[in-house]
Symmetry: C3
Subunit: 312 residues, 3 copies
Amino acid sequence: MYFPQTHTLHDIAEWLGNEYAGKGDLILNGINEIHRVEKGQITFADHPKYYQKALYSAATVVLVNAKLDCPQGKGLIFSQDPFRDFNRLTARFNTFSPGTNTVSPTAEIGHGTVIQPNAFIGDNVVIGKNCLIHSNVSIYHNCIIGNNVIIHANTVIGSDAFYYKRRPEGYDKLLSGGRVIIQDFVEIGSNCSIDRGVTSDTIIGEGTKLDNLIQIGHDTIIGKDCLFASQVGVAGCVNIEDNVILWGQVGVQKDLTIGAGSVVLGQSGIAKSMEGGKVYFGSPASDSREKMRELAYIKRLPELIKILTEKL
Amino acid sequence: MYFPQTHTLHDIAEWLGNEYAGKGDLILNGINEIHRVEKGQITFADHPKYYQKALYSAATVVLVNAKLDCPQGKGLIFSQDPFRDFNRLTARFNTFSPGTNTVSPTAEIGHGTVIQPNAFIGDNVVIGKNCLIHSNVSIYHNCIIGNNVIIHANTVIGSDAFYYKRRPEGYDKLLSGGRVIIQDFVEIGSNCSIDRGVTSDTIIGEGTKLDNLIQIGHDTIIGKDCLFASQVGVAGCVNIEDNVILWGQVGVQKDLTIGAGSVVLGQSGIAKSMEGGKVYFGSPASDSREKMRELAYIKRLPELIKILTEKL
Amino acid sequence: MYFPQTHTLHDIAEWLGNEYAGKGDLILNGINEIHRVEKGQITFADHPKYYQKALYSAATVVLVNAKLDCPQGKGLIFSQDPFRDFNRLTARFNTFSPGTNTVSPTAEIGHGTVIQPNAFIGDNVVIGKNCLIHSNVSIYHNCIIGNNVIIHANTVIGSDAFYYKRRPEGYDKLLSGGRVIIQDFVEIGSNCSIDRGVTSDTIIGEGTKLDNLIQIGHDTIIGKDCLFASQVGVAGCVNIEDNVILWGQVGVQKDLTIGAGSVVLGQSGIAKSMEGGKVYFGSPASDSREKMRELAYIKRLPELIKILTEKL
């Protein structure tokens, strides 16, 4: 998530009311959670197990709840509650405000694009040329749609990430300040849910086609020319490379990568990163030929047990 | 489902045109199907296998198609078709009428609550304070939403139960007279479907968070601080206790209980009641460590068969 | 997909700018892809493996990219790119045009039918008598709804088929010129997606009931009095006969038949045609008793391996 304009470390720390280490004139252009953070940005770490990852990430500044040593050329902001202070920054720079128009007057809509009745287009949405947005679609604020994109009825682009911190008093929500970016020539079926990034962007790559009732989690990046059949569910912070095919009802867990050209057969569950160019099956999924062999062996179990019972 | 005001057994039987047993001045406050019925209410039983359960339930009156003995202090209404007469009562007291407004003038909406464009809010809906109801959400008549609730775009609250009786001429629908009650601090993702109770209420407990594309069946009661990942499906009349976590694409069959603090791993199928505090996996699901052990054994099957072939 | 009026082979070939074989005065009433094509229609074949199937199908004319011999009484249109020319015909006769009304003035709506607020009804839609169309439903152009049909909130009827041809430059979409036909006494839950046929019709048979969040693919034909529980996904060109019950989260692959009276248990995956009257379970699914026996054997694997280890 980018700030509308840059701020210094000093200014951000002062606004938060926190002390800091490092040079106060470090220039910051946004915030980002640890999986997607880039140079010039602030991330946060509120548990010792993430301290090293945060310090050695691309982040220029880390919001942290311990007096760690500040790495050369970086900054630390010391916070009693980094999760809360990160949310305060998101809320400060997030532009959501209640809408009164079906199509926001601040949305930009390209030449030749058709918006069917009852679609909702939020503030600062940008839609390219020659798109077709069907009825009852909801596109939340700040999302970006390329050219020649088709979005079928009742699909939602830009709902919040499913990301909570457990507190003694209940779940605390990490605010979603990121966006969804849909590249050119993408087609998305009906009743899909594409969540926005918490701080980075959820991206659907050029030429990719999604069927109906598909879930794409926050900050997930999908490559070019992928095909996802209906009811596929992809969690947050997943990387799916180019030309991946996911058949119906496949589930993909968070924080993993599916290599280019992979094919995942129907109802499989992807629980760890998978190398490209192979066919996978099962829940949890493995190489499909291996899995088919297992299924054939299972069918031979009765015979096996009969032999054992007789011979032993 | 409560009557707007109480009625006597005599009045209800007379309105239905049926004979009855028991005291005519028994006071009745509503109707309810057999899983959720309470004292003061009417339930129905149209098959001998449910007669005993109905007679010994908390129901004050049973609509029944046999001349059973009336238990002490209760009443029976004798009907040729209890299912049909139960539906007649639901239709009599159910307040659905066609809407002409996007937000019904009979809806009550609390201070600080934002309703985004194109959301539909039905008759007699009550929404608390500081809620955010996103675009294209549909909330059917009579549903109750607490304070500080977020409902993401295109989610449906209060659609009818999926509950039919097989007749020779086709399926006959049990009318849904119940409600959905969403308690405080609940967040519901986009494109979810939360069905109303047939006669009781579907309840989402305080602080519970649902991701996108989730199905919650009629009369299901979900406890506090649960987390359901996307594409979870829960059937009707399920009890899910507090602090239960269901990962993506989990399915839960009807009429069962999942104990407090349970965790169910992705794509599992819950087919019977599960005790609390454990981790489950598989379809049908069992203890996750046991299931993982089974999967490891299956991988050893080829070796096993090789040994058998050689040694026996 | 039917033409508004008939055309001759000569006229169609001339409009496409292609040469043809066969009698120029052959009368054509529409186009249809190979699974559903009927006499009087044009189909296409752009790969040698489909040539024979297309020539011997019911099609009167085949759009084909090879100089095949023309069968007696039929016609061939020779095209460099049959897929593209088939799309040109669909686009020529397809009546979609951008809508400006929530309920199109060209829609026909029967007596006693209620359309709730924010439902979108496209051009030339026909809805019968005594239907209830809930809020935020989207019904695309040309779809046909019978009498006494209930469609719950946010369901989509008539979104495009998920059907693409892989080209070197990316996926090329087969345009959807077909319709959805919903017969009498059907009830469809909330957030369902029923795709239109690419060239034929997707049909939901009389008295069939669908729960929430269900996917039905293009050109699929579902019989009478079926029950599908929530989150079922059915691919394209499937035939489901009468009285079939699919429990929750079942997946069905394309181009297959499920026989009358079948019951498929929850989370099963149907990967090939299944004969009627049986109960199925598993992914891939087989006879449910056989599958349950396999699961019982798997539970005995630890014991089996222990015996082997000790005795051999």
